[in-house]
């Protein structure tokens, strides 16, 4: 039987302009639940729908930022004076504020890079399941 827990490894993702994003390689169950919770909202089909019958709907905007917040540990971004935009070890409110402050193109680049990482890791986990080998090294990302 393989291990059901993962070492807290990191990957460094290269993006444009020589910048990098440092991300968690894997999410834990709690982090995964956090992404799901933040990505969904309760919706009422109409005004007469009882509270007990409310349905969950995926919110794509929140889903994107929830995935970023779950994975992102650090980056090399600086402000216009070259001072680091510090997010490492910061509360989620500080990280979110920094993500809100960068320009929209940069935000979308961060989101694309982290979603690609998430997709690669999911594929790696699916492959592990098929082969029965756990805690093998994924082929994506650049381990730090």
């Amino acid at each position: 039987m393989g291990s059901r827990v993962r070492r807290p490894d990191i990957d460094v993702l290269d993006i444009s302009g020589g910048d990098t994003l440092t991300v968690k390689r894997y999410l834990t169950a709690a982090e995964f639940r956090g992404v799901i919770k933040a990505s969904t909202k309760a919706v009422r089909l109409d005004a007469t729908t009882p509270r007990s019958d409310m349905q969950l709907e995926v919110d794509p905007t929140e889903s994107g930022i929830a995935t970023i917040l779950a994975y992102l540990l650090d980056w090399t971004f600086t402000d216009y004076d070259g001072r680091p935009l510090v997010i490492r070890d910061q509360p989620v409110t500080v990280v979110r504020a920094a993500l809100d402050a960068i320009d929209a193109d940069s935000y979308m680049e961060v989101q694309r890079a982290i979603q690609a990482h998430d997709t690669a890791i999911r594929a790696h986990l699916a492959e592990e399941k098929k082969t029965g080998r756990t805690n093998s090294e994924p082929t994506s990302g650049s381990p730090a």
Partner: protein, 105 residues
């Protein structure tokens, strides 16, 4: 005999990038032989027993433009969240925090 110490109100016990527990009051001291040790209190509700059982753990104490970091060699958590720890050597991290500076004496 204590020759040097760092007292603060905000620190964390870290396992890799995870916070195993936050610390809301601590005193780190260095004796004349150069050995570091710490006492303090873990913040109720922030202790993750699984992560706290992992190794290596680090005590990370942020100051205005960085953080001090020590590997925790031995950790004893007492009733009520008080803890004592034997620490390894101290390293200093770069720009890392917006928390208030600690008081050194």
């Amino acid at each position: 005999m204590v020759s040097r110490g760092i007292r603060g109100t905000a620190a964390a016990v870290k396992w890799a990038y995870f916070t195993a527990a936050t610390v809301h009051a601590y005193l780190v001291t260095k004796d004349q032989a150069g050995a570091w040790s710490a006492t303090g209190s873990l913040t109720p509700g922030t202790v993750d027993p699984y992560k706290l059982a992992q190794r290596p753990l680090f005590l990370v104490a942020p100051f205005k433009r960085g953080a001090w970091r020590w590997e925790i060699k031995q950790l004893t958590v007492l009733e009520g969240g008080r803890f004592t720890a034997t620490l390894g050597t101290m390293s200093t991290e770069g720009t890392n925090g917006l928390t208030r500076p600690t008081t050194r004496y």
